[in-house]
Each structure stands twice: as C-alpha cells, then as structure tokens.
C-alpha cells in the first residue's frame, strides 16, 4: 500500500511539474468562457449605424417601411443613376432601390448599393419588413383584412410533463443540448486522461525503467498506482477548471445578462398570469418580449437543471468510465514500443467512445429510444450516453443498474489489463499483434 502511494505521488508530481499541464488547466476555462463571451458580444454588437437613402419607384413603402434605433431611412424621388454616384457624398451609408414591379417578385426587383457592407442583420431586417408589407398589400387587393389573418395565427408552446411510476407528474426541462454537452465533455475527459495513462505507461517502457521498478513492486501495483494517480490529477484539474469557469461565467453573466434576467422575471410573472387567467388577460397591458423569447426559453431551461445531480453523476461516471477505459489504455500502452505503433491499438478503443458520442447526439432528438437506453447501460458507452440523458430525468433504477454494471466491468477490465500489462512491459523489439496480446492473458 505504501508503495502504491509512492507511485501515485510520483505520477501526480511529475505532471504538476509539467508546464503544459498547468497552462492547460488555466487556459482551457479561459478559452471556453472567452469564446462564449465573444459569441454573446458578437450577437449583441452586430448593430452598426445605418443611414439609408431609399428610392422607392413602386411607391408602396413610403411611411410603411420604418427604421429602428440604429437604422434610419430617408425616402427620395431622385433618379437612381444619379443617386448611385452621390449617396455616399451626401452622408448615406447605403442606397436601397425598389423597382416599380417589386410586387410581382423576382430577383433584381430590389437592390442595395453600398461601399461598406451593411451586414446580414440589416438585410434581414429590411427584407422581412418589405415581405410583410407586400403580403398585406396583396391581402388588401383581394379584400381580406390583414387583422383577421394575424388574429388567426396561433403560437403553441408544449410543456412536457413526465409521468413516473407512481403516477405523479413532473415538468421536464428536456434540455437536450445541455445533456449533449455534458456527454461530450465526458467523452473528452475520458479520452484525455485515458491517453495520459497510456503515455505514462509507454514512457516507462521506452525509457527502460520499468524493469527496475517492477523488481520492487508488483506490475499490477504499478499499473494501479498510475491509474489512481492520473484519476486524482484529473479530479483536481476538473475541479480547478470547473471553479475558474464558474467564476468567469458568473462574472460574465452579471455583465451581459443582468438586464435579461430582470426581464425574465417580468416575463415569468406574466406567463403565470396567462396560465391562470387564460385568454381573459388583456394582452395589450403586458410587456412585449417577442425578440427575446428564445433567450428566455434558454434561461428558463438552465434554471430548471438540477446542477447538483448533474455534478454528482458526472463525477461518478467520470470515475467509472475513466477507470474502465484507462485500464484498457494501460494494457495497450504496455504492448507498444513507440508512439508510431500505437495507432492500430488506440483506434479500436476509440470506436466505442465515438459510438457513445454519436448516441449522445441522438439523445437530443429522441431521448427515450431504445438505442439511447441500451447505450446508457452498456459500460463502453454508458458514461457518455447517461450524461446526455441526465437532464431528461432518468429513473433511479436505471442509474443504479448502469453505474453498477460500469463499476463491475471496470474491476474486470483492470484485472484483464493487469495480465496484459505485466507481460507487455517486458516485451521489447517485437511488433505486437492482438493475437499476441491474447496469448499474454494466459501466461502464469
């Protein structure tokens, strides 16, 4: 036991002294949150001021096509040819020309002249309005009141309630994307730390120090020490990364999402009111959040996630999945002499992990399919697939079964790996095949 402790200690110390490892630990969360912040910032700042000169030869849009807080529109009756040459000198950023035949449609009926591209958001804004105006125009031409049409439109939001075995129901978050992300994170972690074990084993073999060590400790102890060492290291790294990410995202959301969460509160109280009073609510009294609905949906889903459950499951499945795969990785690491030979052995181990990843993508669309169910029970894929399901509410018995199988399997793979490992580490200069590894299992 004392010797295993020494091995664990060395494994941790050698990695902690490694600069890349430390930089990765700090940099990874910075990159993730930095990327998120960048995305949010991008989404918000796509609003450059546009001063637009409109030449409307169809005469349909005057006073109907309107600007907003960053787009101002000025209508003019100038000739197009003349205006194209002059609009920038007059201080306009672009020129929108609408042909007399725009109502008949077809490409080229509307043109936008510019020197600096006004961006996609601007185009969408103008296009949507014009389409609506033409649509209403055509309705009127056929004597249809546009109000009837708009009042006939209905928007439906399905609220999911899962009925459990006791017959009681629970509102579901069904936040597939979040589940998938945790699954993908699990995939990354298992692979990363599995490879770490693999490299550490191979390093000792290629350095030729391994025989010196196994003359003092049993090969199995050495392997176990390594696996546990990397697991501790991984957990430390995960906690540090998690903490940094948490701090950064909290800071970020305070910065970017303060208004949004205040608005969300108003929105939620309104939703409650509508639920209670049905259509008797006077909609005109309510604040309108049309453009923010998607974001509210996201925020509400995040609020419904049971982070404690996700966290505990993540740790449990990480430990189980890591131990399961890393012992296989250790066995493979012992069988190869150089990194160049390792590919043919790593690929077959990667495949079940990849399969797990793909099943996790399926979980988003179809969380209760049998592929997903079995994927979350079979130990080769269960850590990844179960994490992708976790926010959909997994019955306790499935969790217990899946974790139980996972932990029993890892005891088995570790035992198997130990047999391969102790022969593999002492085999030099011979190219190993799967057949050969199979034989090692039966050496005494």
């Amino acid at each position: 036991m004392k010797k295993i402790r020494l091995i664990i200690g060395r494994e941790i110390k050698s990695k902690l002294k490694n600069k890349t490892f430390i930089i990765m630990t700090i940099l990874a969360p910075l990159l993730i949150t930095g990327f998120l912040a960048f995305m949010i910032k991008m989404a918000q700042s796509e609003k450059t001021e546009q001063n637009v000169l409109v030449i409307d030869d169809s005469q349909l849009f005057k006073d109907k096509l309107v600007g907003n807080d960053y787009i101002s529109l000025s209508f003019s009756n100038e000739k197009l040819e003349k205006a194209v040459g002059e609009f920038t000198d007059k201080g306009y950023s672009c020129l929108l020309w609408i042909s007399p035949t725009v109502i008949e449609g077809g490409a080229g009926a509307t043109k936008l002249f510019y020197k600096k591209s006004p961006g996609f958001a601007f185009q969408t804004y103008v296009k949507d309005q014009m389409e609506r105006i033409i649509y209403e125009n055509k309705l009127k031409a056929n004597n249809i009141d546009p109000n009837i049409i708009s009042n006939s439109k209905a928007s439906i939001k399905i609220i999911l309630e899962k009925v459990n075995d006791q017959g009681s129901t629970q509102e579901q978050a069904s936040f597939g994307l979040f589940g998938f992300l945790t699954g993908a994170l699990m995939f990354m972690f298992i692979l990363m730390y599995g490879m770490m074990v693999f490299r550490s084993v191979m390093e000792e073999k290629t350095n030729r120090i391994v025989e010196v060590i196994v003359s003092s400790v049993k090969p199995f102890e050495l392997m176990l020490g390594k696996i546990i060492g990397v697991a501790i290291l991984g957990t430390i790294q995960f906690l540090i990364m998690g903490l940094i990410t948490f701090i950064l995202t909290t800071a970020l959301s305070a910065l970017f999402l303060k208004d949004a969460s205040a608005q969300l509160k108003v929105f939620q109280s309104q939703q409650e009111m509508v639920k209670k009073n049905g259509t008797n609510v006077n909609f005109n009294d309510l604040e309108k959040f049309d453009d923010k609905l998607e974001m509210f949906d996201l925020l509400q889903k995040i609020q419904k996630i049971d982070f404690a459950e996700v966290f505990i499951c993540f740790i449990l499945y990480f430990i189980g999945g890591y131990l399961f795969y890393s012992s296989i990785m250790a066995a493979i690491g012992s069988a190869v002499d150089s990194e160049a030979d390792s590919q043919q052995f790593i690929t077959p181990v990667m495949i079940p992990l990849m399969v797990g990843y793909f099943i996790a993508t399926k979980t988003i669309m179809d969380p209760d399919s049998s592929t997903v169910f079995w994927g979350s029970i079979i130990p080769f894929t269960s850590p990844i697939v179960m994490m992708s399901r976790i926010t959909n509410g997994v019955p306790m018995w499935e969790l217990v079964l899946s974790l139980g199988i996972l932990f029993v399997s890892f005891v088995f793979t570790t035992w198997l790996a130990g047999k391969i490992y102790r022969t593999g580490i002492l085999m030099y200069g011979k190219k190993t095949s799967w057949r050969e590894i199979g034989k090692w299992l039966f050496y005494k």
Partner: protein, 317 residues
C-alpha cells in the same frame, strides 16, 4: 557455506517456447556467481523469476531458507539488461523514489545517496535531469539505484554491456567490494573474460537447460586434458624420440633454433616423467600446462549441447 538461494526444478513456458526446463541451482552466500549462456538461453527468464517479476510454472525458490516471498524484494538489488531511468526527473528525486520503493525511508535514502554522491564525486548532479547527463554519468546513477538499499543479493544482468570501460571497471571493483562486505552477487553474461576474473561459481545454461555448474576452479580442473606447452632449444628429432609413445604432438612450431611444441600426455605419463625424458636432449625454456579457459569450455559445452538438442528436435519433429 550456506546457500542464499536454492533454485529447485524451476520450469517456465511461454506460449510457443520453453524458457527454462527443470533448472536447479544452489548459490552460496557471499560468493560471486556467474550465470552463463548464449543469448536466448533462458538467463533473463531465470533472473526475472528470482526477482519475482514473473512466476515459475513449476518448481520453487528458497531465499535464505524461506520460500521466496514479495517481502524479499527489498533484500535484492537488480540491474536489468534493459535498463534506464526517467529522463525528465532529477537525479536526486529519482534515486530517492526508487530507493523508497525498495523500502528505505526517505531520510535513510537521502543519507545513503549523499554517501554515494560523495564517493563518485557527483554532488553537483542532484538537481540535474537525467537527460542532461552523459551516458557514462547515467550509468553511474543506474548503479547507485541498484545498490542503494544495500541488498544481500545483487543480480546484474549483462552488467558490462553498454557500459564504457571505465564504468565497467568501476562495477567490477564495486562487485568485489560488495562481496567483501557480505553480499552475494549473481551476474549473467556471455562475456567470459569477466567470469574468470570475478566468479567463484558458475552455471551454464543453454537452450533452457542447465548443462554445467560448479566452482570455476573445479570446472577448469575437470576439463584439463593433460596438455602442455614446452619451448626448448635443441634438436626437435631428439626431443620426439625421447618421448616415444608417451605423448601426442598437437602442434609444433620452430623459430630460429627455438622450438615450441604442444603435447598431450598419454598412457598415464606424468609431467615429471616427461621432463625427465626430455631434459637430456634439450634445454627447456618454459613449461606450462594448458588449462582450458572458461571461454573454451563454454564453446565446447554449447556445441555439445547443440548437437544433443539437434537430435532431440529432429526426434520431436
């Protein structure tokens, strides 16, 4: 003298070949024991079994009267043939780690390491990484790792391969000193020169079987063939006549008027009788018995073994 190690009928089989076949050996305490044999004979397999890296399929090993047990690894030092160190770890940390794995406390390991560093004048290496050291320096560190826990039994697998002459000499001196201090040394080699110089006893392993063992002196005595080399001044004809049928000429060689002959005595003739017979006819310059070197015996036994093995394998196929 008591045996530190008794190897009893040890066999080891891998899937497609037999590494050791019913090998028995006794290794006396405080001796230097040479484990000889050509490459692939099974030496390393036997050494790994003694080090408990692998287990025998059958047979047992007794270490100082007890059945070999994992606790014994702390009393054994091992320098494998495939040896190396962590390249990125500092010399000090590395040796301390490996010494602790051999059961030393950290403080004790530090004390002993300081002793060795002073002995080899390498105090300044403590914080250096192994990859920053020259090959010769690395070998010194490797040797310290092997002996730092002051093992009662030291096992060196091909210790002179890969070591430069200076370090090889250093190891030879250390082996002799360790023995003087009460350690037993087993080393495997196919370098016969070092055997005669260092070993008290040897065992010859060939094709996974022990084909010869005993003390170096006894073995060489057994393999003496009553062969002598004589150089003399005088008539070669007269010399030959004087011997009559008492000896067989194996080789003769004349330079100026000095003859040098190699003869094998026959019919129970002793060396004194030989000298009495030839003294009247020539002037003897030198007279030596030719004792076969361990190298000769090694090659002879291996060739014999090959013949036997050859017929054997023909038989099985």
């Amino acid at each position: 003298m008591a045996d530190i190690l008794q190897i009893k009928n040890v066999s080891k089989k891998y899937s497609n070949h037999v590494a050791l076949n019913d090998v028995s050996l006794n290794i006396a305490e405080k001796s230097v024991f040479g484990l000889l044999g050509p490459n692939g004979a099974g030496k390393t397999s036997l050494i790994r079994i003694i080090n408990q890296i692998t287990g025998p399929d059958s047979g047992e090993i007794i270490f100082k009267g007890e059945k070999l047990h994992p606790k014994h690894v702390e009393r054994i030092g091992y320098l494998p043939e495939e040896r190396g160190l962590y390249k990125k770890m500092s010399v000090g940390d590395q040796v301390l780690y490996l010494a602790q794995l051999k059961g030393l406390s950290k403080a004790e390991a530090k004390k002993r390491l300081t002793y060795w560093f002073e002995k080899f004048e390498m105090q300044s290496w403590w914080k250096k990484k192994i990859e920053e050291l020259s090959k010769g320096m690395q070998q010194k560190v490797q040797f310290i790792v092997t002996v730092i826990h002051e093992p009662e039994l030291l096992i060196l697998d091909e210790p002179f391969s890969g070591f430069d002459p200076i370090n090889a000499q250093m190891i030879k001196n250390e082996i002799l000193e360790l023995r003087k201090n009460g350690a037993t040394v087993i080393f495997s080699t196919h370098n016969m020169g070092s055997v005669e110089e260092l070993c008290d006893n040897i065992a010859l392993i060939h094709k996974s079987e022990k084909i010869l063992d005993g003390s170096v002196k006894d073995i060489r005595k057994t393999y003496r063939s009553n062969t002598y080399k004589i150089t003399f001044k005088g008539n070669l004809m007269g010399f030959t006549n004087a011997l009559w049928t008492g000896a067989e000429f194996l080789d003769k060689h004349t330079e100026d008027d000095i003859n040098s002959v190699t003869i094998k005595l026959l019919n129970g003739v002793t060396s004194s009788q030989l000298l009495q017979a030839v003294l009247p006819v020539c002037e003897i310059h030198s007279f030596n018995e030719i004792i076969p070197s361990m190298n000769d015996i090694f090659i002879m036994k291996v060739n014999q073994g090959n013949e036997v093995a050859g017929t054997k394998s023909n038989f099985t196929e």
